[in-house]
Subunit: 212 residues, 2 copies
């Protein structure tokens, strides 16, 4: 298809598509004449992945470039490639000073990782995000909320198990990295929506009245 058709099918304006090509996020189309390029289904899927990472994942263009580079070169161990592809995808978190609250939060996260026997680096971006979030809660006078941490970790482990069960059963090796990236970004939005829905239900049961 031509670039106009690609734009229409994905809802991404033509100048934006060209920008992604210039920035190295999207491979160039195949030239069919000196000023006409042909785009295929591969481009369409890549474009949707880029939009998901930008819009839902909230990643920067530079971070998306890192992710798609890892998707395109799965030439080393799958674990390493998955790490490179998903490390930039970290939830938004508050960044505060390097104070006592942060040191205590780092210790708490370290204890949780050790107690669960989770194999991951102590300086993984998600570990930092979690410690900074717990420190911000403490500073805001809501430090007691951290008592939910073990229940959250149980739930997160169940979700990660479902993620990888899906990947192992349904996903061809060629699509593995892209699938994990999409699932990581979209899964956060899916979970947050479901959590909100379950909260509304529980709030209704606990605090609702006949007039609600």
């Amino acid at each position: 298809m031509r670039i106009g058709e690609l734009s229409r099918r994905t809802g991404v304006p033509v100048p934006t598509v060209k920008y992604y090509v210039r920035e190295g996020l999207l491979p160039a189309g195949e030239l069919t004449s000196p000023n006409q390029a042909h785009y295929g289904e591969r481009h369409e899927r890549r474009l949707r992945l880029i939009r998901a990472l930008l819009d839902v994942g909230g990643l920067s263009v530079a971070a998306v470039r890192d992710v798609v580079a890892a998707v395109d070169e799965p030439d080393r161990s799958v674990h390493k490639v998955l790490g490179e592809a998903t490390n930039p995808i970290v939830p938004r978190f508050p960044q505060g000073p390097d104070d006592e609250a942060l040191a205590a939060a780092r210790d708490r996260v370290g204890e949780l990782v050790a107690a669960r026997g989770w194999r991951l680096d102590g300086d993984h971006p998600a570990v930092t995000a979690l410690a900074e979030t717990l420190a911000a809660l403490e500073r805001a006078g809501h430090g007691a909320f951290a008592e939910v941490l073990d229940d959250y970790a149980d739930a997160a482990d169940g979700v990660a198990e479902a993620d990888f069960d899906h990947v192992r059963k349904r996903v061809a090796l060629d699509d593995l990295v892209e699938s994990v990236v999409v699932g990581t970004v979209m899964g956060d939005a899916i979970f947050a929506s479901l959590r909100r829905m379950a909260q509304v239900h529980r709030s209704s049961r606990l605090y609702g009245d006949a007039a609600d």
Copy 2:
């Protein structure tokens, strides 16, 4: 304390504090002389709440105004106030066309809500966010990922239970709405970090090798 001290303790610049007062997010300080205002611990906590909603929750200033208005007027049923305070806090989601993929996703979400007996409106913002996310997955060729939905809903229900257990055991009624708002925003970041950590661990077990 004076506004300069409030700024130093929270890391929010003085002009930004004044902007929040003008926009109705933060109550004005108590005037101690014609051009000097006194701020208390209540202002400091409110300022941290505002920053959490803006930075971590990704809310707009207008949405933050709605949330803090609900926090400040818990004069009706708790369930209604909680709804007004938390409805604006919806995860980022992709917004696509009103097509067959969206209709099918809406049906799927409706079935899930019915099967679980969850009491919530079919047009709740979180229901819309979930349906749009599932539709975007389908359009991107990753519709099969929706098979994780029930496992995710189980986990989300467990997290919501931990959220309300915490609230019921630890939180005074005066602080209820603020605590739920903080927990809603920060809880998403905490869960997403823990999910990423659990994924790294599982990836290491499944796909890692001795060299990793």
